[in-house]
């Protein structure tokens, strides 16, 4: 019996869940005093899961018949666990200062993290749906965790309403796919889809609805409406978790679907291209006039979803490029998958640094998170300014930052297909130029403008060593992987 093996292989999945239960139990035993303990338990659970992850090699088996134990799943799981740990580091000092230090925060965080891990490992539509719900529901609560802050509650409520709406699309799509193929496992779906003659309207509609549901999760336009409001209202660590974690997890799910299940086809290509182009355009144009950092990052995250969707499009299109159909993996598709994963890693890294920054100097205050508060900051906070400048250069994809290589690899994968995807590629190039408009505006605000009061003392910081270290580490990573991507590539390559 493989139960023990399966359990061992899925430790990164259930260890956070176990941590979640432990925190709840703590909260029950010592109500109101489990805040710091919760952070400790969460950190320990994540660290254990990570240790288990790196201690074992992917077996290629299918634990419980529904999950994948492969390189893709593992590298994304590792990434998610790191994001989770970073969010613990961000959240702990903030909750303490808000006097909101409840174990529940970490329990919810761990539950959601568990859902994320499940999402990137799911090889069955049922597991996929379960994962999406498991990751979403705690997030709704987390977004509204500051119960007395109207924007926070608004954020949680909006996210919940629209998320429930999107889940409807998702489950409907799953039902249609099940009805046409009679199975929900990816392997069976791929076998079914190998014969294009069998793919009727039900299949296509099912796939389209699936895309709607997952498109909502990755914040792709036009399913992006919630993003700016929710990003802004939610507590910053939660926003960081949404921006980095959900993006990685949802794209992990989409990537696996695209790689293993979805056959290439004109309709799918057009749909993905539409989402990608719309996201790039809407995201970048929406960010252009933003003056508030968190909203700006929300729009930019929509734009990044567009860039990433181009990578997914390449994964799908590469299948028929080499003449192979179905789930036959071609080197092109593999390299596109790797490009998207690398992009996700660099995006997560930069996002964590940026939100860490916002937490550190913005201290959850709307005025401090306003772009106007950053005028001439470089003179008084040179290191922090350099860190933020680095983040935005990386978001913009300037060479010698990790973001540049991420974009480069995605474009490179697209170029490998010749001119088949020329339209989204052109849109990517054009919108990247638009993006420079607002990324560089931040740099000029930091470095060229003058503060209204030159003699004012340097703005205060949150004063948490953990947060400062996190920013430093993430920025260091952005720089390091920008010139030396090999270790990251190797790690992500499995």
């Amino acid at each position: 019996m493989d139960l023990a093996t399966d359990l061992a292989a899925t430790a990164p999945l259930w260890l956070p869940m176990l941590g979640c239960l432990a925190v709840l139990l703590l909260e029950t035993l010592a109500p109101g005093r489990s805040g710091h303990l919760g952070a400790l338990v969460a950190g320990a659970a994540i660290a254990l899961a990570f240790a288990r992850l790196v201690a074992t090699a992917p077996s290629g088996r299918l634990p419980f018949g529904m999950l994948a134990d492969d390189a893709l799943g593992r590298s994304l799981t590792g990434l998610l666990l790191l994001v989770g740990a970073a969010v613990v580091v961000l959240a702990e000092p903030l909750l303490a200062r808000l006097r909101l230090a409840h174990g529940e925060f970490f329990a919810l965080l761990l539950a959601s993290l568990s859902g994320m891990v499940l999402l990137v490992q799911a090889r069955d539509l049922m597991a996929l749906f379960l994962a999406v719900e498991l990751l979403s529901i705690p997030l709704y609560v987390l977004a509204a965790f500051r119960r007395l802050s109207a924007p926070s509650v608004e954020s949680g409520f909006k996210y919940f309403l629209l998320g429930a709406f999107a889940s409807g699309f998702l489950v409907y799509g799953i039902a249609l796919l099940f009805s046409t193929c009679g199975d929900t496992s990816y392997a069976a779906l791929a076998r079914f889809a190998a014969d294009p003659a069998r793919l009727g309207a039900t299949w296509h509609v099912g796939v389209a609805l699936l895309l709607v549901g997952l498109g909502f999760k990755v914040a792709a336009a036009p399913f992006h409406g919630w993003t700016p409001d929710v990003y802004e209202g939610a507590p910053t660590p939660v926003t960081a978790f949404m921006a980095a974690g959900v993006k990685v997890a949802a794209f992990g799910g989409v990537l696996r679907l695209a790689h293993e299940v979805l056959p290439d086809g004109a309709g799918l290509r057009a749909g993905l291209a539409l989402l990608a182009c719309a996201s790039m355009l809407v995201g970048n144009l929406g960010a252009l006039l933003q003056v508030r950092l968190k909203r700006l990052l929300a729009w930019s995250s929509i734009a990044h979803a567009g860039y990433l969707l181009l990578g997914v499009l390449v994964v799908v299109a590469a299948k028929s490029h080499a003449g192979a159909t179905g789930a036959a993996a071609t080197p092109l598709a593999d390299s596109a998958v790797q490009a998207v994963v690398f992009y996700l890693a660099t995006y997560a890294l930069t996002t964590l640094a940026a939100f860490g920054w916002i937490l550190d100097l913005g201290r959850e205050s709307a005025e401090l998170q306003d772009l106007r508060a950053l005028r001439g900051l470089a003179r008084r906070r040179p290191w922090l300014s350099a860190a933020l400048a680095l983040c935005f250069l990386s978001f913009a994809g300037v060479p010698l930052t990790a973001g540049f290589l991420g974009k480069l690899y995605v474009l490179k994968a697209a170029f490998a297909l010749g001119t088949e995807l020329i339209v989204p590629m052109v849109v990517l190039a054009a919108t990247s130029v638009i993006a420079l408009g607002y990324y560089l505006r931040i740099l000029s605000t930091l470095y060229m403008e003058r503060a209204p009061d030159e003699n004012a003392p340097a703005p205060a910081r949150l004063g948490s060593t953990g947060v400062a270290l996190l920013i430093a580490a993430a920025c260091g990573g952005v720089l390091l992987f920008g010139v030396w991507p090999e270790p990251l590539l190797r790690w992500l390559g499995g």
């Binding site: 909006k158 309403l161 629209l162 709406f165 999107a166 699309f169 309207a201 296509h204 509609v205 796939v207 389209a208 609805l209 895309l211 709607v212 498109g215 909502f216 336009a221 036009p222 399913f223 409406g225 919630w226 700016p228 409001d229 309709g267 799918l268 057009a270 749909g271 539409l274 989402l275 719309a278 809407v282 144009l285 929406g286 960010a287 252009l288 006039l289 480069l408 490179k412 490998a416 638009i434 408009g437 010139v483 030396w484 991507p485 090999e486």
Partner: protein
């Protein structure tokens, strides 16, 4: 060996980062000591690399180490892989040895020299960064890394020339150096693109074999390709017509002039020529261009050096002139002789600059030769060291410069002797320059150290402190023995040439008969001594013969003093038209480009506003767009 390579690049970078980060808190002495320790360690590492290579069989003396792959682009034949790594072979290690060796001496010297300057730690951070860039340039395993180092040294040169950025001249000189170098960089870049297109590689280790294979297969190598690199080399090594930045670069602190603008960075062009020697040899008439440019630069700069008042400008023009010799040697195909002159020049020119720095230091910033004189009584040690350096520069045996310069002249003579009439011109120009060199060296030494004092009355010059004296002494010894120790052609003692032979294109020239060699040597020696005597005589005492000569040829003397008005000519021919073009471009930019850009920007802003109107915060609206998106997807899926 890869550890040694990594450390050679990593240590200077680490030191630059550390000092750069802490430059406000570190004292000049601490930063300088740290930097010097780093440079000395690097020299030790370079020696280690040297002994390692020595231990290898002659045809396998190279070590490649790849640290990581920076970029991999394209597929199949068109794949471009840019690795970060080092390439250790006799050529690169030779350069690394004298860069780190002379470099550590100058670092040591700088500790005292910069002690009383503001921002000393910043100075050392730049110096460490320079060392890193220079070693990247030399040790980088492909042309891409060499180019990165090339740009890096340009940046450091800019930063250090403009070190006293408060001074308008310094800031302008920095800008000038940067702009002129850009022209050269374009050449380098174009050459790199072209090379990659032709041979599909930029790796130092692969280029020569691929070139040989390509030539064997009948590819015609365009001479223009070699000329692209030559333009790059001209910019960095201050050859005609791009030499104008180097004299102005003397606005930087004197140790910087010694390290960057005399000993190391300006020889990067020679390094490039040597590195690509097989390419240049194969590129038809490209080498002739190199040779004639070199000879013309040597002569031209030698003439200008005759009448400069500023001691550092004399040295700067003499550097340009000596670099011309090196180009001449490359152009004649004698790459090893060129490298030989690079090494000896590094010794004696660093010595001269450091000595002049000691003088300037002693005189509290006075650089005008006409306000010196009689300093040998105040600064006997410096005077002695400077005299050795000047003898080496003038090419007086047995000092270092004699052997390397004589060898270059010998090659030019041998080519002419072998039946190439144009080489008589080159040889003539070389001999004439040698005479000029001896003359202005003598003039400089005489004006500075001999005769009666023309100092301000209240000036009390004092000898330099020990950290400044030690490098002077070491370099003086090297200027004395560095030539004969590395090569004496007439005695068939050519260790440097044999060492470099595997990496350079061989010289296809029958050796001259021994008697002729000895004869040429004697001739060169006599010319140098004679013109030294003349120079010393003219400028001793009240300089009567010099004044008489000036009065006899007033216009020529004026042209010399005015540096042949090259800056003014450039101003009229290039800068003014460019200004006009710039004004036109500005109008175009303001009216057309800005208009379009602003229009585009406004359009984008308009769309942004539109997006924000859609984004009005109501959940129902968001849901509406979701449904609209879903319908679009369904339509696409079914359509």
């Amino acid at each position: 060996m890869s550890t040694v390579g990594a450390l050679l690049l990593g240590l200077p970078l680490a030191a630059a980062t550390l000092i750069g980060i802490l430059h406000r808190r570190l004292s000049t002495r601490t930063a300088g000591t740290l930097a010097f320790a780093m440079a000395a360690t690097c020299f030790g590492l370079a020696v280690a690399a040297f002994t390692h290579l020595r231990g290898l069989p002659e045809d396998a003396r190279h070590v490649a180490a790849t640290f990581w792959s920076f970029l991999e682009l394209g597929r199949g034949d068109a794949a471009l892989t840019l690795d970060v790594g080092v390439w250790l072979d006799p050529l690169s290690v030779t350069w690394a040895l004298f860069i780190t060796g002379v470099g550590s001496l100058i670092f040591l010297y700088s500790i005292s020299y910069m002690e009383h300057e503001a921002g000393g730690a910043r100075y050392f951070a730049c110096l460490c960064l320079f060392l890193f860039s220079m070693l990247t340039l030399v040790l980088g395993k492909n042309l891409f890394l060499t180019f990165l180092g090339w740009e890096g040294v340009g940046l450091c040169s800019y930063l250090l020339i403009g070190f006293e950025y408060g001074k308008e001249t310094a800031a302008q000189a920095g800008r000038k150096a940067f702009l002129v170098n850009r022209i050269g960089d374009v050449g380098f870049l174009l050459g790199m693109f072209w090379t990659w297109k032709l041979f599909g590689t930029l790796e130092h280790g692969e280029l020569t074999p691929k070139l040989a294979a390509g030539l064997a297969a009948g590819i015609a190598l365009p001479p223009l390709l070699a000329l692209c690199y030559f333009v790059g080399a001209c910019g960095k090594s201050a050859q005609l017509p791009l030499f104008v930045w180097l004299p102005d670069a003397m606005a930087g602190p004197t140790p910087v002039s010694a390290l960057i603008h005399a000993a190391t960075m300006v020889t990067a062009g020679i390094y490039l020529l040597c590195r690509l020697s097989s390419l240049f040899v194969a590129a038809d008439w490209a080498l002739d261009v190199v040779a004639f440019t070199g000879a013309a630069t040597a002569l031209f700069a030698g003439l200008i050096a005759l009448r400069q008042r500023d001691i550092k400008r004399v040295l700067a023009y003499s550097t340009v002139s000596q670099l011309g010799y090196m180009f001449l040697a490359c152009g004649l195909g004698a790459f090893a002789s060129s490298a030989f002159h690079v090494v000896t020049h590094a010794f004696f020119k660093a010595l001269l600059f450091l000595g002049s720095g000691a003088v300037i230091h002693a005189l509290h910033g006075e650089q005008d030769l006409w306000k010196m004189g009689g300093l040998k009584h105040h600064l006997p040690k410096t005077a002695f060291a400077m005299r050795i350096g000047a003898f080496a520069l003038a090419g007086i045996a047995p000092f270092a410069g004699f052997f390397s310069k004589d060898e270059i002249l010998g090659v030019a003579f041998a080519r002419a002797y072998a039946g190439d009439p144009a080489c008589w011109v080159l040889w003539g120009a070389g001999v004439l320059t040698a005479a000029l060199t001896a003359f202005y060296s003598a003039r400089m030494i005489t004006l500075c150290f001999d005769g009666s004092s023309r100092l301000d009355a209240h000036s009390h010059p004092h000898e330099a402190p020990a950290p400044m004296a030690i490098p002077l002494n070491v370099l003086a010894v090297l200027s004395l023995v560095g030539g004969i120790g590395l090569g004496f052609e007439a005695l068939h003692w050519l260790p440097l040439h044999h060492w470099l032979a595997p990496t350079l294109a061989p010289l296809d020239l029958p050796p001259l008969p021994g008697a002729l060699l000895w004869g040429l040597m004697t001739l060169a020696f006599l010319i140098a001594v004679l013109f030294w005597r003349i120079g010393a005589k003219w400028y001793s005492g009240d300089c009567e013969p010099a004044r008489a000569a000036e009065l006899t040829f007033p216009r020529f003397a004026g042209a010399l003093a005015g540096r042949f008005f090259v800056d003014e000519i450039y101003g009229a021919l290039i800068v003014r038209p460019l200004r006009f073009l710039a004004a036109l471009a500005l109008q175009f930019d303001v009216r057309v480009v800005d208009g379009a850009a602003r229009g585009l920007g406004q359009f984008a802003a308009l769309v942004g506003t539109g997006v924000r109107i859609v984004q009005n915060g109501t959940v129902q609206r968001y849901a509406f767009w979701m449904v609209a998106g879903a319908i679009a997807l369904l339509w696409l899926a079914l359509g």
